[in-house]
Amino acid sequence: MAANPMSQFDVYRIGPEIKVGAFDISFTNASLFMIISTVSILLIFNLGSKKNSILPNKIQLLAELSYTFVAKMISDTAGSKAKPYFAFIFSLFMFVLFCNMFGMIPYTFTVTSHIIVTFVLAAFIFIGVTVIGFIKHGFGYLKLFVPSGVPAVLLPLIVVIEIISYLSRPISLSVRLFANMMAGHTMMKVFGGFVISLGIVGGWLPLSFSVALTGLEILVAFLQAYVFAILTCIYLNDALNLHH
């Protein structure tokens, strides 16, 4: 495990193999960290919402600040119409943030460093946003692909580009998060390996790099969760308000 920087992303079964029909749904280390993340989120926010004191304690303040942070993010990017989707975006942000942050603890597994996880999330968002768009605007939602004020000559090209960019949304959304997580963790592992291989004499430089990278990765972990949530808001804004 130590030698290969990619081995930290290995998924392995914990406990017996569970099969439903042809599908293997065994409990793995990925499942374990999904459960750890969700349970910590639920614990923190349950504790933070239990007591309602005028002067909030620390955990209540944490919960309420997160709530207002996400609420402000949604209302800034998608407007007041996006209020029914607040709970989903809040859950999404918290889930990605906690998975990223738990991945920063040594010997843990980063759920969001797997393309299949981020892609399922992104595809769900993509399909959901498209369905919302068609429900809200009917076939008028297709106007999204026809920007206003474009010369008629350029329109066929622009429409094609718009459609491609729309369809590539789930891919860009999922690959962005997955690639950031994977690259950061790989890099940290590589530098950690250098510390060992260069020993007491030359190991200090990669060690200081590792320390700096840890700080950077914590920032990236937060930033990618934020970007994921805010892009969801922007897509939702397209579906709800149809600005084109």
Binding site: T28, A30, S37, F45, N46, M187
Partner: protein, 196 residues
């Protein structure tokens, strides 16, 4: 020093690229579909349960807490505003009372002063009258004295003159002739003495 660090970085980046390629050749565990279904299943399960619990139980509570805090703060602000207004009206009342009592005190003071002035004036009038009476009496006496003075002076002058004459010449001089001379003299010099 900076150059050294830079060279180290270049060296390390070569290492990194080499390692990364080595990993690539080993394959990315992410692209191994063995546990994809399992991951999707557990993701949907955990995220779904978390979403349901958050949206149905926890988030409404937090929003409720925030709302109630907001409304309570607003209520408190309103109450404080009301109390401030109350205290302002009280202050106004207090000011009015102070003003009223001040004017009352002024009036009382003025009354007292007027009374005192009146008393003083009355007393002064009485005193003035007494003084005037005294002066009038004294003037009358002076007038009387002054009226009597020429006669007495004349008499004294006559007596003294007759005695002087008796002593000087040893003869009795008729009082009537002396008085005639004195009268004549006094009439001539009377203007000088009395300014008549």
């Amino acid at each position: 020093m900076v150059k050294k660090i830079y060279l180290h970085l270049v060296f390390l980046s070569f290492f990194f690229i080499k390692e990364a390629f080595a990993a690539e050749s080993g394959g990315m565990p992410q692209l191994n579909p063995e546990f994809w279904v399992s991951q999707i299943f557990w993701l949907v399960l955990t995220f779904g349960i978390m979403y349901l619990v958050l949206s149905k139980l926890i988030l409404p509570k937090i929003s409720n807490n925030l709302e109630s805090r907001k409304s309570q703060i607003l209520e408190n602000i309103e109450a404080a505003e009301k109390q401030r207004e109350d205290s302002e009206t009280k202050l106004k009342e207090y000011d009015q009372i102070i003003l009223k009592s001040k004017t009352e005190a002024n009036a009382m003071f003025n009354q007292a002063r007027e009374k005192a002035v009146k008393d003083i004036n009355a007393k002064r009038d009485v005193l003035d009258k007494q003084i005037d009476d005294e002066i009038a009496k004294a003037e009358k006496e002076i007038q009387a004295l002054r009226d009597n003075a020429p006669d007495k002076i004349n008499k004294i002058a006559i007596e003294t003159s007759s005695e002087l004459l008796q002593k000087l010449i040893g003869a009795e001089v008729n009082n009537s002739s002396i008085s005639a001379i004195v009268d004549d003299l006094s009439r001539r010099n009377g203007d000088k003495y009395y300014g008549n």
